[in-house]
């Protein structure tokens, strides 16, 4: 899956290569903070091209799972594999380099930079980084920069944010900030997109649009999506399979229908009689 920036500029957005089989495999993941067992024996399999949701009450350990997978925490035990490659315990930037990128619960944009610059920074690994080429503006460097801007504009268009290109990211309306954060992930050409509560703070209309966006990203861009979300209509509408967590433990995995009628899940959400 190594991509060369020159050949794939235009082709990536339109002709996605949807890989087959297992994309991400998490086995028996455990994360311990001192005496607190935040995640206890969680396993999940994200198939290629699948939208997979993790749900559960507040404090269930969903974000901790995200932090372990994306390399922000080193798991106490367990194994994380990306298409058969062991990525357990890699540092966060290395994990991102493997094509697993994430958004954050509270949007983390480069607030003082423009929307376009946010998308250019995200292409850091793809754009020509030779210093001398940059200092003397060699033709190859210029071309790489132009392609970078072109790709950024493509993603601004994709999200309907073109008019915001030169606006400071931190001053955009909240809904747009969420979209920009997703665009910033997608421009790195990830294999796995991890969305941490993408619908938080959005109005009902925006939530519907978000659902359409996630589906389009999967079908048009061929990305596999791992999702944490509290909004049930979004989760049930968009995901193929769902993992339910409570107190750090997995209590059920299955299709939305199966989850909706699962007794343990209902108990976890509504409490026992």
């Amino acid at each position: 899956m190594s991509t060369t920036p020159n050949t794939q500029v235009k082709s990536t957005p339109h002709s996605p290569v949807i890989p087959h089989g297992t994309m991400l495999e998490v086995q028996d993941l455990t994360m311990r903070f001192g005496g607190l067992l935040a995640v206890d024996g969680v396993s999940l399999t994200l198939r290629a091209g699948e939208i997979f949701a993790i749900i559960g009450p507040n404090g269930a350990g969903k974000t901790t799972v995200f932090n372990c997978v994306s390399g922000f925490y080193k798991p106490s035990s367990g194994r994380i594999e990306l298409q058969g490659e062991n990525i357990t315990g890699l540092s966060s930037h290395a994990v991102a380099g493997h094509g697993v990128v994430r958004t954050f619960q509270n949007v983390r944009l480069f607030k003082g930079m423009t929307a376009l610059e946010n998308l250019l920074v995200a292409q850091h690994r793809q754009i020509n980084r030779s210093w001398l080429a940059g200092l003397f503006k060699t033709p190859a460097y210029r071309r790489a920069e132009e392609q970078g801007i072109e790709r950024a504009l493509f993603w601004l268009d994709y999200m309907g944010l073109r008019g915001m290109a030169n606006r400071e990211a931190g001053k955009l309306p909240y809904g747009y900030q969420r979209l920009l954060e997703i665009a910033r992930c997608m421009i790195t050409r990830p294999r796995v997109l991890m969305l941490d509560e993408p619908a938080a703070g959005l109005n009902p209309q925006e939530k519907v649009e978000l659902q359409g966006l996630i589906e389009r990203l999967r079908t048009e861009q061929g990305v596999s999506v791992l999702l944490i979300e509290h909004d049930m209509s979004l989760v049930m509408g968009v995901s193929e399979r769902i993992l339910v967590m409570e107190h750090g433990k997995p209590i059920a995995t299955g299709t939305p229908e199966a989850i909706r009628s699962d007794e343990r899940v209902i108990k976890a959400y509504l409490g026992e009689e």
């Binding site: 994306s70 390399g71 922000f72 540092s91 966060s92 930037h93 290395a94 991102a96 380099g97 990128v101 994430r102 954050f104 983390r108 944009l109 480069f110 607030k111 003082g112 930079m113 423009t114 376009l116 610059e117 946010n118 250019l120 920074v121 995200a122 292409q123 850091h124 690994r125 754009i127 020509n128 980084r129 210093w131 940059g134 200092l135 503006k137 801007i149 504009l153 073109r162 290109a165 030169n166 400071e168 910033r184 992930c185 790195t188």
Partner: protein, 417 residues
């Protein structure tokens, strides 16, 4: 109205407390004894002045049309430079550079000397601007790298007989190496902690220079360092090597010491311009964007696959390199280096230039560097109050223009609609 009165009273009392030890009580020597002589009238005048100004403040504020909240918001955005088209901009830059090149031939010797100093500080300011302004790493030990550059040239001359031009790249490289080696362990720290460690580093360098007497000459430093040559031609009355031509002989001019002053100025100017050009390119390059991104949000950077350590190190190393070049030039200009030139106050001064100019704003840094070097020279008679005024300016800046003289402007990209 009652609030205003109360504020004014309070301010007057505060003034009395602050001013009394400075102006009010004076130590006079009477024979062998010292007596404390009070000067209450000055204190009273100061209090009265503050009281009056505080009382009239709301009225003055209304006069300037910035009452209340709306006014404050307008201030926050502040005035900016007028927009120029790229052609106008380039024309202006060329004109300014040409002016700066021609000016020393008409100006007095002292003025050129001060301008040389200003150019050195511009260079240092732009170097630190990369670290503090772009990458957001608070470095209080910048003068350490400056010292490394200066001593590299001084020691290469003293122990190996190297000339300025051979030593200049080595001085830059040595300072960069120090930056790199220090950066490795230190850049894991953030904010205040980083500031403290770099502060310590600057002091360690200075103490090493004092104590490694055998190599650095200790507190006396190293002296009679030669000035730079003009492409191998010495600028002196007589050549130091028998039979060699000197600059004035080669050009058929009368020997004048002012030639050296002008030459040094032009060199400092070109070094500063090169620094400006490089840092101006860097910020528009991927690495520059990465620095800014890192300043804005390190966690987001990591989540996008940017290696924060490498990006920080590059900023730290590059900034140190410019300090090294500046140091080598400083050594050549002074002809003597000693640890006294590299105290913490220098670091603070360079940082003040960056903060005063507006973090990340290159034009701002240049203006601040010129102000900070030229103003104290113009106001020589107030030399004792230099630090006091310095503090006052900083406080006023914080109140009225916390973003600096010329805040950094974002580079906009033309977007076809």
């Amino acid at each position: 109205m009652r609030d205003t009165l109360r504020n004014a009273m309070l301010a007057a009392v505060m003034t009395a407390v602050v001013v009394t030890p400075i102006f009010g009580l004076r130590l006079e020597r009477a024979g062998i004894e010292t007596v404390l002589e009070p000067h209450w009238s000055r204190v009273l005048w100061a209090c009265a002045l503050v009281f009056a100004v505080q009382l009239l403040r709301p009225w003055i504020a209304r006069l300037f049309g910035r009452s209340g909240h709306a006014g404050r918001e307008r201030q926050a955005s502040g005035w900016r430079l007028p927009e120029l088209s790229p052609v106008q901009r380039q024309g202006l830059i060329v004109l300014l550079i040409a002016l700066a090149m021609v000016w020393p031939f008409m100006a007095g010797r002292n003025a050129v000397d001060i301008a040389t100093l200003a150019a050195i500080y511009i260079m240092l300011g732009l170097g630190l601007n990369i670290v503090v302004g772009f990458a957001g790493l608070l470095d209080l030990g910048f003068v350490g790298f400056y010292a490394v550059g200066a001593y590299t040239y001084a020691m290469l001359f003293h122990w190996a007989g190297w000339g300025f031009w051979q030593a200049l790249p080595v001085a830059g490289a040595a300072a960069a190496l120090f930056g790199f080696v220090l950066g490795f362990p230190v850049l894991r720290l953030r904010g205040d902690y980083l500031a403290i460690v770099t502060l310590g580093f600057g002091e360690i360098i200075r103490l090493l220079l004092i104590n490694l007497t055998d190599w650095t000459g200790g507190p006396d430093g190293i002296s009679s360092i030669p000035k730079p040559t003009v492409f191998g031609l010495e600028m002196a009355r007589d050549a130091s090597v028998e039979g060699a031509t000197t600059f004035h002989q080669w050009l058929g001019l009368e020997f004048q010491t002012v030639h050296m002053v002008i030459f040094l100025y032009l060199m400092a100017l070109s070094l500063a311009l090169i620094t400006l050009w490089i840092s101006n390119r860097l910020i528009r390059m991927p690495i520059g964007r990465a620095w800014e991104a890192l300043r804005e949000d390190e966690i987001a950077c990591r989540s996008l696959g940017l290696n924060p350590m490498r990006i920080k190190l590059s900023a730290f190393t590059l900034g140190a390199m410019f300090a090294g070049f500046g140091g080598a030039f400083f050594a050549a200009r002074q002809g003597i280096v000693s640890p006294e030139s590299f105290t913490f106050i220098e670091s603070a001064l360079i940082l003040a230039i960056v903060v005063l100019g507006g973090m990340g704003s290159q034009l701002g840094v240049i203006i601040a560097a010129v102000l900070i070097t030229v103003l104290p020279e113009l106001a020589r008679e107030f030399a004792e109050y230099r630090m006091l005024m310095f503090g006052l300016v900083m406080i006023l800046m914080m109140v009225w223009r916390p973003q600096g003289l010329l805040p950094m402007k974002r580079h906009h990209v033309e977007v076809p609609a």
